[in-house]
Amino acid sequence: MTVTVSQAKVWRPEELATAGAQWQANAESLELELSSARRAGDSSQHYWEFSAGDAMRSQVTSIATDAYSAVDSLTLGATALNSGAQIIRSWLDAFLGRANAAEGQLFSIADDGVVSPPPPNPLGGATPADLLMQMAALKRQANLLTVMIQADLRNLTNADSTTTDAISRAFEGIVGKFGIDQQRVDNTASLANSDGTSDGTAFRNGNVPPEMFNRVGAILTTTALTPEQLAAIERGEPVSDLPQVNYDYLRNFYNAAGKDGLIELSQTLREQELAGDADAGRRLDALANGILTVSNENIGTGTETGGFDKLPPDLQDLITHGGGSAPELSTSEFIDRNEYMKDLAFLLGESNPGYQPGTELGVELDKAASRIVEADTGIGAQSIVGQKLLEVGTRNETSTWELVTSPDRDRTLIPLLEYGWGDDGKALGGMFDWIPGEAISAGPEDISAQRAGETARGLADLLSSTNSDSLLSSIDSGNTNAVSRLFGIAGAGGESLGDVNPLLTQSIAGAMAPYVNNMAGMSESSLPTSGFGQMGPVESTRVFALLDTDPAAGTILNGEALRQASAYQNQIALDPESDLSPRRMEGVGRLRSLVEGGINMEVAGRELSAADAEQSRVNMRTAAFGMGQAGIAGACSFLPPPFGPALSTGVYMTGSAIVTDFVGPGGKLRRQISTTRRPHWPTRPPRLRRHSLPHPTRHAVGLLPDARDHA
């Protein structure tokens, strides 16, 4: 197809030259680095003999040889762009000169190059015959101009075509290498020739032909992040090398399509996937991945980054306000919004796990899940919707940190904690599963550890709060005591957090485990954690008690506390005269008191017979001791479920076998653990008092007098 007049008038072939200069610089940089790598490899023969050294050198040579084909392609491509820019510029100058001159003489030029004469000039006493002659002359001139301008347009088209072919040929050498197959070639070509805005608009308007579904789907897969970019996201590092053309297409496509277009596309792709089309499945994933990419403040092109505000406004509005009940909504509007939220949740749920939402989107998805389940008056009908939103929202650790340290914390988390999740709270637990891995601080600059500590502390504060200043949930709205709410969840027959959501409770226990010393009132300056600070005995005991409501969760947390206590005892045994021994002993006492106090408080809340209560306490202590032993053996530590308990099973059994050394005949904790080197107590051993609270919401003041004195 020949270029038109209006198109040619705005051509800027200098852009080709600019890209050519960039490719030339790229080629030179790549060649320089490859030469350095080869030299380094070759020189190794002086200090690395054997066949392994030869294999390494051969490998470096092979990599470089492949990569030199990319150097050649870039060099040839640069030449093609530069010469193309020059040729096109010369033809463009000829065309523009002619066209401008013609238009200066009031000739008009149609888009196809056909020139029309101006009207004859009647001034100067021209007779009708003169005018006719004038018109004939102008017509002849216009015809001549038409021939010349159309020739100019053909020349421009040919020059463009020649340049296009030259660019294509330049890169033939890299096809078949680097994982570049013909499909990849076709898809990048499709992306380069498509406009995100017009494609998105077509989907918003509906009635999209099947071939367009295929083309857009293929383009979306082409914009996938590379494994290196996904690895950087996983490490929490920014990605700033997303090709601008990819980012532009995604942002423009999503914004033009809006929520209606995106939902329609996702539903069609899902139908195709269910019909057995594997490509459709990949395209559906890519559609969801792209939303997360555009939303992510940590992903950009080097000149701009993603963000929640880069998503379509109607999608932002749906995520921010959808899912909950609101007085201004009619029933049909409420249902309509819920349907949209469901569709959106299922779409986002298709995203690959390596993709993370931006921080703001992550927070908003968590909040949306909270609104949805709070308004769920059915029998858990919205559980799957909330789970899918949480599965995506909780991937971003910064989102969790922002949410749990924000004023919205209680209002968002309480409905999530109280809801009877169909997956036992597994998806919600993902909100905290990252904390154990980040909890140990590598130094003052370790922001991840600081945030892990602050998040765990925010959660612990909520779990131990008995009098919130604000509404916690529209369910049982008058009850602002988080502890009592979570020990006896409204609508759950008085069941506790651990009964209703055991997997969530285990995740929380895993998140709290690194901070047992902090909860025992020890100064963080002497601990490897940061951000959590010290916690008082009353609040800490409530947290222990609440997590004891699930046996596995209680075992994780109590086991870690006893492991720490045992470690202190061993240190005392090894160096009883150390100046640190009194503080270590204090630690032993506080940690064991927390375990005992939590167990007592939890058991007291269950209204068991005296015998059953005692048996329950024995069981919990025994399990905790087994976990503590497993931790000492290094089989598990701070691992979230299911890894911790699963890994520790063997050692747990060993620990249980010698548990009588630790738990006495009456099920009480012995004052000393049998070790190969029995600890020597330089001062009085910690007192282990057993108190029971008739109701878990009562203050545990007095429960840990020793710890309170020193907190």
Partner: protein, 100 residues
């Protein structure tokens, strides 16, 4: 005694390869073509350049990754040599797979 493997120099090689890999990863072949899509409406050369810039970007990324992997294997070899009394008998494998 003849020097067969110098672990310190292996670490130097690893550093050099890692550095080269990181430098290659900064090469942006698609950066300058962003404006080409709209620079010449109706033309095919701009989109072709955009398409090929993306392919070149793939090639650069894969090259960087391959060199990085080589650096990792060099480091693994250095660790094994460090623990081996006789370099001639060093088992240069990881998880049962040969490093080279």
């Amino acid at each position: 005694m003849t020097l067969i493997v110098d672990v310190a120099q292996l670490r130097g090689l690893r550093d050099e390869l890692s550095s080269r890999s990181a430098q290659i990863a900064t090469i942006r072949t698609a950066r300058a073509v962003g404006g080409l899509k709209n620079a010449m409406p109706g033309a095919n050369s701009g989109p072709m350049a955009v398409s090929r810039a993306l392919l070149a970007s793939d090639a650069v990324g894969v090259t960087s990754e391959r060199i990085s992997n080589t650096a990792t294997a060099v480091e693994a070899s250095a660790v094994i040599y460090e623990k081996t009394e006789d370099d001639n008998t060093a088992d240069l494998s990881r998880d049962g797979r040969p490093l080279w």
